[in-house]
Amino acid sequence: MSKEGLTWTVYDADKLTQAEIYGITLCDLGEAHPEIVGLSADLARSTKIGAFGKKYPDRFFNFGIAEQNMFGVAAGLAKVGLLPFVSTFSAFASMRACEFLRTDICYQNLNCKVIATHAGTSFGPAGSTHHAIEDLSIVRAIPNLTVIVPADGIETARAVRACLDINGPVYIRIGRGFEPRLYESEDYEFEIGKVVELRPGTDVTIIACGVAVLHAVEASTIMQRDDGISVRVLNCHTIKPIDKEAILKAVMETRRIVTFEDHNVIGGLGTTVADVIAESGKGCAFRKVGIPDVFTTVGYPEDLQHYYKIDTDGIIENIRELLGLEFEADEDWEDEV
């Protein structure tokens, strides 16, 4: 069992790198964009938006533990020409404040950015009250809203910068801040709505988002070496709008697709990809892996990722199973996978 989660204390909390990158990025943007304001609901430290508040105390507002009001206030701020960044845990952004996000911000198509932290099971020991395994399913059904799931802190910085080009609401879903780094630098092609192909491959395609992307890359390397299997890895950082073109290209070129996400298998990345495949009429072997529609258990994130098979071992296991599956184009429905 991993003990990673025990290696920090409250005194280290401000030094954590990945989520901190978001805070630093926002501070940078704040200089060029005096219209940016930061909002927190008693989680300024946890969500790292506190860094912005320290630098721009007149443009930062804490609302206490009152998320509904905070999202309504964000709409009001956007209405009078400011650019609010609202930060809280994903569970609260997508559920406690859902109607305020939907009706006040998205219905009015306001230029407002939501940074939803501690997503999926990244707040492992906190348990299901603080795990957000439903948020993608909820928020991607809201019109006008762009939904992004960066793979690490570097990509979070890219997403935070890129979302300024969208004149409308954006939901950026990130982890707790302990996630290992995938990218070495910001020097790569990032475009909202376009996947990043991290590994080429011809036998099977992994489509992943968030913390599962790094594991997918590792799995691809291992399977090439040990199994002689060529595994394509697509970092699908934008859930909405989804990159249909890249998904269909993968269907046609590899005929096997597996999705991995730190989210319920209902309504998240896997479902979004499945929609694209089903509407295309193209046949392929397909599996979606994530939280299997259960309330998640307690544990350190690494252990939970292992348990729900979205870590490297789980990804390899799933791909080996998928490779054994066949699909057919004939009319014999008795032997379909």
Binding site: V37, D58, R59, F61, F63, G64, A66, Q68, N69, M70, F71, G72, V73, A74, A75, G76, L77, A78, K79, V80, G81, L82, P84, E99, F100, T103, D104, Y107, Q108, N109
Partner: protein, 276 residues
Amino acid sequence: MPITEQEITDLEKVARKLRRDMIDVTGWAGGSHIGGSLSMTEIVTILYWKYLKIDPKNPHWDDRDRFVLSKGHGGVGHAVVLANKGYFDPKLLEEFNHFNSPFGMHLDSLKAWGVDASTGSMGHGLPQAVGMALGARVRKKAFHIYAVMGDGECDEGSIWEAAMAASHYKLTNLTGFVDRNHLMIDGPTETIMKLEPFVDKWDAFGWKVRAIDGHDFRQLADSIDFALGYNEGPVMIICNTVKGKGVSFMENDPAWHYGGLSAELIEKAKKSIGED
């Protein structure tokens, strides 16, 4: 500035016109939230005809005062105000509630001209108004924000979250009103979910509170003048009103929260309101 007798006479005339228009729209629309629109008529009349710094020819004017109808179901009452102020051709109201109309029972700020915030779901307007008031402060703008709530709406937790924030941030550029008509869909507020002691609640949440007769223009003017001069925090004006005010057969009858009108009832309602 104290209100004059002439102003009061003029405002009363406007209010009668607005009420007759609400009755017409209710007929065209097939039904409306007429009871709560009639109860807030004097509040919106004095705001739009005496206090709001607005330019109907330039509805997105950056420095305009903002009006947020937190009780968004008063849409029909707000729409006739905007039509009479010249934001759009009043003939458009004949399509109210019809397919693809800019106007449904809860007004959409992206479709209905002059609407500063889309509202309809209860408890969403005051938080947005708080955001506008904070935003004015950040942008060093002098505009004022007026938010009108329903009394039943104050059952919503988000109203009290916003109330805390408004007093915490000492939002002197925000004035709230509650259309205290004492009725909600299922019956009297005090039977369904007790609000009293209502003044004490707002007071405890850090607002300076005035409780007045919400149909009396003199009391409304005095209270708004007080609010605009008060510099220690937000002011709440609790306006005691009568649901269905001005139409004798609707007054104090919760059945008229939402309803349609036959030609005969339209005639009767207008007669009750009075011609000019």
